[in-house]
Every structure is written in C-alpha cells, then in structure tokens.
C-alpha cells in the first residue's frame, strides 16, 4: 500500500503495481491523485544555474552563495515537504536569519491558526467517519479539491455510530457561491453571494438566538440552522470561499462555533490543500510560537510584514521549496519574485523554476522518497517512496545548502 501526497487527505490505501521499476496500474487513487502519481514521469526539473544546465554540486554551491550574500532572504513554500525536511529547512532559516512564510499565508492560515491554538474545537477525520451526523462544506468543494473526502470520511462511509449509510445517518450541507459538484450531491445547498459570508454568519447567529434573521429567504435560512442544530456531532469544513470572505471578520467564526456548541457539539477542520501544510504550521508553532510569517532576522518575530505578499517587496533573494508562487501569487507579486535571485527546489519544472537563478531538482515525496506528514486533521501519516530515484530529497538538499554556507 502506498500513500498519496496529492492532497492533505494523504490516502493510505493506494495500490500500485510496479512494472520493471515503473509505475503500472493503480487502484483507489482519485483522478487528481493519479495525475500526481503520473507526474513523476513528466516535465521534471533539471539542475540549472543561470538558465544553463549544471551539475547538482555546482547548483547547490551557487544556491548557498546566493542565500549567504542576501541581506534578507525569504524561504517560501514548505507545504509539499516532509516534516523532517521542514525541520531541516528551519535550521537553515535560523542560520541565514531568513524570513519564513508558507502557502498558508495566502490561504487557510488564519483558520488553521485558530485550530492549532485551540481557540476553536476540532476533531480528527476518523472521528468524523465514526460519529459525525452533519458535515458542512462552507466555501469548500471537496469533490474537486479533495476528491475522496466525502467517500472516506465526511458523508458516505459507515462508522462506529454511523452504521446505516448516508441517507439515514448523515446530512451534508454545502454553502457556496456556486452550485459546485459537492453541492450537487449534498442534502442541502445554500447559496451565498461573493463576500456574503459574514452577513450569513450573523444571520445564523440571530436564528440561534431565536431572533428573526435579516435575510431575504428567512424560511430557507431557519430550516438550514434548524438542521444544523439537530446535529449531535457536527463538523464545519471551511474552504477558501470562507477563508477569503471572512478574513476581515475572523471573530465571527469563533462566535458561530461557540453558539452552535451551546446546543450541540461542533468542530472545525480546515480544508488545507497541500499535503503537509498543516505539518509546517504545527512545526513552526512548536518551534517559534507562530504558524507562519516569521522572521529570524533578529531573534524570532512574526507579523503581517513578514507575509510573502510583503516579503516579496522587501527581501532580496528567495529560496522556494516545493511550491510555484510565480504561478499562484497575484501577477504583480510574481513579478517581484521574478526580479530577484531565486533558488527553486522542486521535482517539476514550473514557472518558478523557469525564473530561478538556480534550480535544484528534488525527489517527489511520497513517490520517490519517504517521510511523514500531518493530514488536514493533524494526524501524522508515515509513508515510503513508491519507486526508486536518484534524486536527492528536500531534506538532503536543505542540509547540503546549509553545509555550503
């Protein structure tokens, strides 16, 4: 059995037939996971310096040189590396006095932080499978982003206290701006307008307080909240829709969850995307007291000025590990990154490796290298590689760069 690192569900039941050392037929991988597995044979990164092919040793030397000479290097990415590699990366960051930020900074960070700091209750996905009777996909569409979420945990499987199947035992509710594939198969779909989540939370709280909500379709909202309240074990799965819409009114999430917990039991599991983003946030929290946006320039400090959005303006070099910020950040920020010396460590060619001064190809974790990671619910999952590879792991690369300083 192999583990899929295609998303933060880290499915552990993957069967892969090996055919002369190459991957053959697979079972249980979803479409996204299959793409992830197949990717080891496609568009791989090659070691390069200044746009020309180079030996791996030369690339590592150059990388160390760039980082050493930078006044304020940024280390970004992290969420597609194993826990051990993350720890090695943090040692390097301390030595360099670097600014450290990960993809959570532009997505789930603030909700993950509340969960990790135990400001809002959470539970494991195994608890969800065994006990949950209401699953709320809020601004999330797991059918597209975490394809096996509903079948493995949140809607369809049988569990200890959920023996009778989804029709009788569970209710799935989707709250989204669009009728997503997940909304299509949920029991209830509640449409919210872009930016309308804060208003919806407030309206829900008034219904829970026994007041008439100030929304257009009062009946629909009251019936929704009534269903939510009936639950004995409810779980909210916030996706990017909620993350972006509530980012200016974060306290509303706490308020809603607290209210719901007065009459039933509610937990929150953020729909983290990359396979080990939660692992990085936890590791950094354990080491520094912060989940992201940390500077080691002068001791340890954290704040919005150390977010990747700001660091792209103030840093003078970047080490990017297992991430493609030039693709995923707003174009103006991507342009800033493209303008500074970048060292990219990645299994694949992407826009970031293509703007990088130095490219160091890495083994794909879970596929070519083992390690462990935290699933979206914080449970640690260990894995081995599936196929042999000569490429160095992130862990080895980061250690070598550190030696080279």
């Amino acid at each position: 059995m192999a583990v899929c690192t295609g998303c933060s569900l880290l499915c552990e039941d993957i069967e892969v037939a090996l055919d002369g050392g190459k991957m053959g037929k697979t079972r249980n991988l979803c479409r996204k996971g299959l793409g992830h597995f197949k990717s080891i044979y496609l568009d791989r990164a090659r070691p390069a310096v200044d746009g020309k092919e180079a030996g791996i040793d030369e690339a590592i030397d150059k990388a160390a040189g760039i980082l050493k000479n930078a006044k304020k290097p940024l280390i970004f990415g992290w969420s597609n590396s194993t826990l051990d590699a993350q720890k090695a990366g943090l040692e390097l960051a301390r030595e360099l006095g670097a600014v450290v930020d990960d993809t959570s900074s532009i997505c789930q960070g603030w909700i993950v932080e509340k969960v990790l700091r135990k400001e809002i209750p959470t539970c494991t996905l195994d608890d969800v499978r065994n006990y949950a009777d209401v699953s709320i996909f809020w601004g999330s569409d797991p059918s597209s982003s975490h394809p096996r979420h509903l079948s493995r945990f949140s809607y369809y499987p049988r569990g200890e206290k959920r023996q009778r199947g989804y029709e009788e035992d569970r209710t799935a509710i989707t709250i989204d701006v669009r009728k997503s594939p997940t909304a299509d198969i949920s029991d209830e779909y509640y449409r919210v307008l872009p930016g309308g989540d804060a208003g919806l939370v407030e309206a829900m709280i008034s219904v829970l307080d026994g007041k008439i909500p100030r929304v257009e379709d009062k009946k629909k909202l009251i019936s929704l909240v009534t269903n939510m309240k009936k639950s004995r074990f409810g779980v909210i799965f916030p996706g990017l829709g909620m993350v972006y819409s509530l980012k200016g009114r974060k306290e509303l999430l706490d308020a809603l969850v607290e209210k719901l917990n007065q009459s039933s039991r509610y937990s929150v599991i953020p729909m983290v995307g990359h396979y080990n983003m939660r692992g990085f946030n936890q590791t950094l929290l354990d080491q520094t007291g912060f989940i992201n946006r940390v500077s080691f320039q002068d001791g340890v400090e954290s704040g919005p000025e150390h977010s990747v959005m700001e660091a792209a303006k103030t840093c003078d070099a970047a080490l990017v590990i297992g991430s493609d910020p030039v693709s995923s950040l707003p174009a103006a920020v991507a342009r800033r990154l493209a303008g500074m010396p970048v060292v990219a460590v990645d299994p694949h060619r992407n826009l970031t490796t293509d703007v990088a001064r130095v490219v160091i190809p890495s083994a794909a974790s879970g596929l070519e290298a083992g390690g462990s990671a935290l699933r979206m619910d914080g449970v640690e999952i260990k894995f081995d590689g599936v196929v042999e590879s000569e490429r160095m792991t992130d862990l080895e690369i980061l250690a070598r760069i550190k030696e080279g300083l």
Partner: protein, 129 residues
C-alpha cells in the same frame, strides 16, 4: 459602466488540477485554466457564445480567456475562473491588513475580443519584464 461590472470568483476544478499535476506547460492546462464560466443569463446579456474569446478587464490587469456557459447556475453577476496564472493577472497586489490577496472577490468587465489567449510561456515573459 457599473451595470456591466461582474464579480469574479476563482475556484478549483479537478480536471484542471489533474492537468496542473502533469505540467504547467501543457496545452491541456491552458485550455482548462484560461476560462471564465458565466451564468446563462450573463452570456445572453453580454451577447456571448460558448467558446468565444473574451477579455476580462480588472483594475489590476486584463486577461484574454475563453467564455463558457456555466453548468453551476444560477450565479448571475458572478463569473467563475479556475485559479491559475491567467486569473492571477486580475488579482491586485494591494491587500487589506490580513495580507491575504483577494482571490475570490474581484471586479471586472467582460467584453468579446478577437485577441488570442496568451500561452503560459508568454505570461511568464511578461512577468520577467
């Protein structure tokens, strides 16, 4: 014209994610990414046909993509774009104090165009400046 202004919301699509896993430079990734999905009513109102090229004009930039009729209606006034380097041309660098970019609540106008969709290599050249 305020009447023509649409909300633009980025989202993720499994086929696009699959293509992304297999390589950012494939034609398939472009075809699945450089797209805007509109409600039937908006398609009609704007006089667009499924598969027609449109320019999405935001405050931070403009990008040419293919218009498609959404099968996730109704969402009049809301245009859906898969999250990608194309949609990221519309996302402003400025943020509120959260320092989280506005990936899901952009404003823009959508107009038919004869221009071609730029391949990712061209987007990259423009980023390199």
């Amino acid at each position: 014209m305020a009447g023509d202004e649409m909300r633009i919301v980025t989202f993720r699509d499994i086929f696009q994610s699959e293509a992304q896993e297999m390589g950012r430079y494939s034609q398939e990734y472009q075809d699945l990414s450089a797209v805007v999905r509109l409600d039937q009513l908006d398609m009609k109102r704007l006089g667009l046909k499924d598969g027609q090229r449109v320019a999405v004009e935001g405050d931070s930039g403009t990008v040419v993509v293919t218009a498609r009729t959404s099968d996730e209606s109704p969402h009049p006034g809301v245009a859906l774009m898969p999250n990608s380097p194309w949609s990221n041309r519309l996302v402003p660098e400025e943020t509120d104090e959260s320092r989280i970019p506005e990936f899901k609540n952009l404003k823009g106008r959508i107009v038919a165009t004869e221009e071609k969709v730029k391949p990712i290599s061209e987007l990259l050249e423009e980023l390199k400046g």
